[in-house]
């Protein structure tokens, strides 16, 4: 059952074509990775799904309804959570309060939201730091906070934008475990943009490869990694000497 379907997405910025005829499907309950060289159009697709800007053409279906062109807050209400590539914590609020803001999305009362937020904070390993100001956190913790906040909105699909960047391998592994956990236990679907191949290979059940704004390959990790077109776009053609 397809949770998210993108059909024929197009986006240009002042004449520069960022995304061209991009189509893909994400089955429910799966972890998917969106990879490609820099400038391939990954964040553009993310932003279109998340409602930051509408596609110039094309459709996006999520859980049966059309969501392209919706505002970011409407997209969140529909069940999609997202993190930002450069983390955006609410610096003046505590860790817990940051997550409460997210939890309020689906909690009817503040008390309910606080309870849920506490739970999410524990799950992401930030329990001991919940009363600290977000501005005092280290980068790995800020990334965890970013994820916790988005998770608190109880999304069906979580968009992760290069969440592993800047993390050491152990920190990376910790997050990988959390995501795998949420996927298996809660049925959370994930779409991640990643350059850190360790995470991609460990988590992704399907990989979509973008190059110059077009989808050039899709499939299970083992296949995609051997796909000659993919290899070419990352490594270049072999030249006969």
């Amino acid at each position: 059952m397809s949770l998210l379907t993108a059909q024929g997405l197009q986006k240009s910025f002042r004449g520069l074509r960022a995304v061209h005829e991009a189509s893909f499907e994400l089955p429910e309950g799966t972890i998917n990775a969106l990879i490609g060289p820099n400038g391939a159009g990954k964040t553009t697709i993310f932003n279109m799904i998340a409602g930051v800007y509408p596609p110039d053409a094309g459709k996006i279906h999520f859980a049966g309804r059309r969501i392209e062109g919706l505002r970011p807050d409407q997209v969140c209400a529909a069940g999609i959570g997202r993190t930002f590539q450069i983390v955006k914590p609410f610096a003046g609020l505590s860790v817990l309060d940051n997550v409460v803001v997210g939890a309020l999305q689906r909690s009817p009362t503040v008390a309910h939201a606080r309870a849920h937020a506490r739970h999410v904070v524990e799950r992401l390993g930030l329990g001991a730091k919940r009363d600290l100001l977000a501005s005092s956190l280290t980068l790995p913790d800020r990334k965890r906070l970013e994820v916790a906040r988005a998770l608190a909105t109880r999304p069906r699909l979580l968009l992760l934008d290069e969440v592993m960047a800047g993390l050491r391998p152990t920190e990376c592994d910790q997050l990988i475990d959390v995501f795998r956990d949420m996927n298996r236990q809660d049925g959370l679907s994930i779409l991640l943009i990643e350059h850190v191949m360790r995470a991609v290979m460990a988590l992704a059940q399907t990989i979509v490869v973008l190059h110059h704004g077009e989808v050039i390959a899709r499939g299970a990790p083992a296949e995609v990694v051997r796909n000659p077109t993919v290899l070419e776009c990352y490594l270049g053609e072999e030249t006969e000497v």
Binding site: R71, C76, A77, F90, V100, V101, L104, D131, T153
Partner: protein, 327 residues
């Protein structure tokens, strides 16, 4: 935000409340009027703080709401004899609509930061000059409300001895404090602060930032309208040049900024400090025989400069930390 009021905070609050309630018995009329002014500035500063401290929208034209509130209630009383309690609700409604209009124009067109502040200034100045030309409200010559006898308390017409005004303002200020504390704890409080900290991130969490910013503006303007109505019936004369002037807007925001934007006690502490300082300086200079016009404001400005440079988050946060309480 840990709202469990520590025992210490509760005790301090109780002591303060007791002192404030007992004041008129031990103070003379002059002191009572100073205290009333402090509470007036504290209340209005608190109202402004909702927009700025909570939702992060800098308004430098808040004198607009004080003035409109004052003129609506004052004008209705002057021309139709409409009592202050009825005029109050009409003033609040008018100011809410005005705030909504300005908010709508600003937020729909994506105006924020400096430009938003300038927009608020423009509206206030436009109104100031406009009122200079409206005969119904007395034009530049001012609007004068009849001052009946001041010995007996006539709550219906809001006339009475200084102590009555003092207690009314005390109730208002305390009410504003309670209201702001409640709002801060509520969904609105969380959402406003999220918007203040990072609007884009707030949107990604499902917050309709336009709607909540509008709410902040409307609440703030409604609260400020009340201080306008109080102003009208306390001072009994209104001049566009005075009440809409940008120096009034600055006076309103000095308290919260010095005390601490976004905190609960900041506006109150700031207002108290400023008024005491201002009066204190006047007295001190008079004692030295220095009656040069402008010297008081120079001291004022220097103090403000000092606070802005060395205590950017205001005076209240470090004090609160010392006392071991939250906001």
């Amino acid at each position: 935000m840990n709202f469990a009021l520590h025992r210490r905070a509760t005790v301090l609050l109780a002591v303060l409340a007791a002192a404030l309630v007992a004041l008129p018995w031990v103070a003379d009329n002059y002191l009572i009027s100073v205290a009333t002014l402090i509470l007036f500035l504290a209340y209005t500063g608190q109202a402004w703080n909702v927009m700025m401290g909570f939702a992060g929208q800098l308004s430098l034209g808040h004198s607009l709401y004080v003035g409109v509130g004052a003129y609506v209630a004052g004008g209705l009383f002057f021309h139709f004899g409409l009592g202050p309690w009825a005029g109050l609700w009409i003033a609040i409604l008018v100011c809410m609509l005005l705030g909504a209009a300005i908010g709508f124009l600003a937020f729909r067109f994506g105006i924020s930061g400096v430009y938003f502040a300038l927009l608020t200034i423009a509206f206030a100045e436009f109104t100031r000059i406009g009122f200079d030309h409206i005969p119904w409200t007395g034009g530049p010559g001012g609007l004068f409300l009849k001052v009946a006898q001041r010995d007996q308390v006539d709550l219906l017409h809001f006339r009475g001895p200084p102590a009555m005004y003092y207690y009314s303002m005390l109730v208002l200020a305390a009410g504003a404090l309670a209201l702001c504390a409640a709002m801060l704890r509520s969904r609105a409080g969380y959402y406003w602060q999220a918007i203040r900290e990072d609007e884009e991130a707030a949107q990604a969490l499902g917050i309709n930032t336009f709607r909540w910013k509008m709410l902040a503006v409307i609440v703030s303007s409604a609260m400020t309208a009340v201080s306008g109505v109080f102003f009208a019936f306390y001072y009994n004369n209104l001049f566009p040049e005075q009440i809409f002037h940008i120096s009034r807007s600055i006076e309103i925001i000095l308290g919260p900024i010095i005390g601490g934007v976004g905190t609960l006690f900041g506006p109150i502490l700031g207002a108290a400090l400023l008024t005491v300082l201002s009066d204190g300086i006047t007295e001190l200079l008079a004692a030295f025989g220095w009656e040069i016009p402008g010297i008081k404001q120079v001291f004022y400005g220097v103090v403000l400069l000092g606070v802005v440079m060395f205590l950017p988050n205001g005076i209240w946060p470090p004090i609160a930390r010392r006392l071991g309480i939250g906001r």
